[in-house]
Structure formats: C-alpha cells, structure tokens
C-alpha cells in the first residue's frame, strides 16, 4: 500500500505538462515522447500511467474544462443583482476564463475534438450545462442560453481578431442580450 518510491504527483504533473504542450504545438504535435521529455519522466512512465494517448488527452481536457467551469461559476456566484451579474459576464469575457493565449488555444483544440468525437463532446456539454446553470441564477433560461452563445462568440473574436477591441463593445453586447423585449 505504501510502496511508492518517488514522486507521488507524477501522474498529475504529466497531465499539466501535456496541456502546456498542447497549447504550444497543438494536439497534432503532441507525442508520448515529447510529453515525457517536457515532464522529465521516462518514456515508460507514459504507458505505465496512461493506457494510451486517448486516455491522456481525455484526462487533460477534462481537467481543463473543469477548471474553466469552476472559474465561471465562481465569478457568477459573486454577483448579487442584475447589474453586477452583467459586469461578471463582461469580466468573464474580457479577462477571466479565457484571459491567456494558452487558454484560448486549448479551448479551440477542445472544441475541434468535440466537433468530431462524442467522447469529448461530453466534456463540452458538461461545461456548457454548468455555465448555463450559473447564468440562470441571474437570468431567465432563454437569456442564459443566448448569453452563453454570446460569450463563446466574443471570446473567439477576441482570440482571432488582430485589431484591438473597443472597450465598451462587450458591455454593450451584454446589455443588449440581457434586455428582453
């Protein structure tokens, strides 16, 4: 039971390093050998800890999705009224969950996998469900759904657009979407 020689978080570290590597070279460029080298573990550790590349990828993106979801919920839970809820959504879009280039790239990689393979779609579905639930604490279901889509779209634009976005644009979009007829 106690027989662990070294490095109890090795498995977890491999997963983290794998995410970093994906952000850098893409899922396409990741290999057992590169992850092993980056995590400074022997190649044999890869097959020892993970049944195959799929298992590693699924665990890595599972962790990533859960982390994003947690940040989202946290941010929304701090809002108390309509105005602060709107502000929370703006914060999520402009600085929070996808603030870094790393997270933006990882999000796209995950979506790409999800668009083709059902196993990954479960991850994105769970993520979207949690986001919507968090939004529904402050908005009606239809608005929550639309907001969720808007967040997605504005995030992507922020990721790909080269020209800097207007500061008030996001605020304006959130205001319009959260203003029913």
């Amino acid at each position: 039971m106690t027989g662990r020689r070294h490095d109890p978080d090795r498995r977890s570290r491999i997963i983290d390093v794998c995410l970093d590597l994906i952000a850098e070279v893409g899922v396409a460029g990741v290999s057992h050998r590169k992850v092993a080298a980056a995590a400074d573990v022997p190649l044999g550790s890869m097959t020892y800890h993970f049944a195959g590349m799929d298992e590693l990828l699924r665990e890595a993106f599972g962790r990533f999705a859960r982390a994003g979801s947690d940040g989202f919920e946290q941010r929304m839970s701090e809002a108390t009224d309509l105005e602060s809820a709107r502000a929370a959504v703006v914060a999520i879009i402009t600085q929070d969950v996808f603030g870094t280039q790393r997270d933006l790239v990882l999000t796209h990689e995950l979506y790409t996998l999800a668009s083709r393979e059902p196993a990954y779609r479960e991850l994105t579905n769970a993520w979207m469900a949690r986001s919507r639930a968090a939004l529904e604490r402050h908005f009606d279901p239809v608005t929550a759904r639309l907001l969720d889509a808007l967040i997605e779209g504005l995030t992507i634009h922020r990721a790909l657009d080269t020209e800097a976005p207007q500061p008030g644009t996001v605020t304006e979009a959130v205001r319009r979407i959260t203003t029913p007829a």
Copy 2:
C-alpha cells in the same frame, strides 16, 4: 498507357479531397499518403504539386474560407430591408454556411490553427472582415461586430449541443442584438 498522365484538375481535386479528409480525421490525422490514396493519385504527385504539407493545408483552408465567405455575402446581399436582413442572419446561422457537420468541423480546425499560427489568422481575419462588411450594408458598425460574434457563438453551440435548439431562440437573439438602446 499509364492513363492519368494528363489530368488538369488534379491539383484542385487534391485540395478538395484534403478538406474531406480533414473533416473526417482532423488535421492531426492527415498525411500525404492518406490524401494521395483518397484522391487516387500517386504519392509523388503530392510533392510535385505542393511544396509541403503546409502549402496544401493553407490552400485547402483558403478555399474553404473563401467559399464560406461567398455564401455569407450572397445571403446578405439578397436582403433589402431590416427585417429581411435579420432573416438572412438567422438563415446563415441555422441552415446556411455551417449547415453540415463537415463545415462545422472544418471551421473549428481552421480556428484552432489560426489561434496558434499567424499565417492562418490571415485567412480568418479576411473572412471576418468580409462578413462584417456584408453586415454593415444593413447594420451600423457596432451592431455588425456584435452580430458577427453572435453568429460565431450560436454556430458553435449548434455544433456541440446535443439537445435540439428551440426554433425561435436564434430569431430572438438576432432581434435583441440588432435592437440598440
């Protein structure tokens, strides 16, 4: 006797087949050999027609982006007033540009590349610029920008969400975004 010798559209066919293959197995799963087999051309044709994998991918996604852009412009050009412009946007989201699973997957693959490599970001930027210009024929610049983001977001949700979307949701979203204070 070796047939095939003269085949003027070969290069073009390779590009099309490459897109199909990407949709099926992802950029990660594409190789010169697989494309050659799928297009029924010898392996040597790959290096003959394309300097390398990058060139093939860039041409393929260039064609894809231009096709999507064309459809977008066409659809918007048919609108004559505010109401028909709104309807055109709804049509784009729900049935048109990303109507097929193939196109959805390809869009994500392109975004993933663009999020990491500037060469592909030029493609997505040109695409987004054309979309915005088409929208600005009917909407003010800020609204056009927001609409563009909304289209992106709703499209992604349509792609990944398993549960069927409410029919009126998209219409409602477009109405809200295109209704300034």
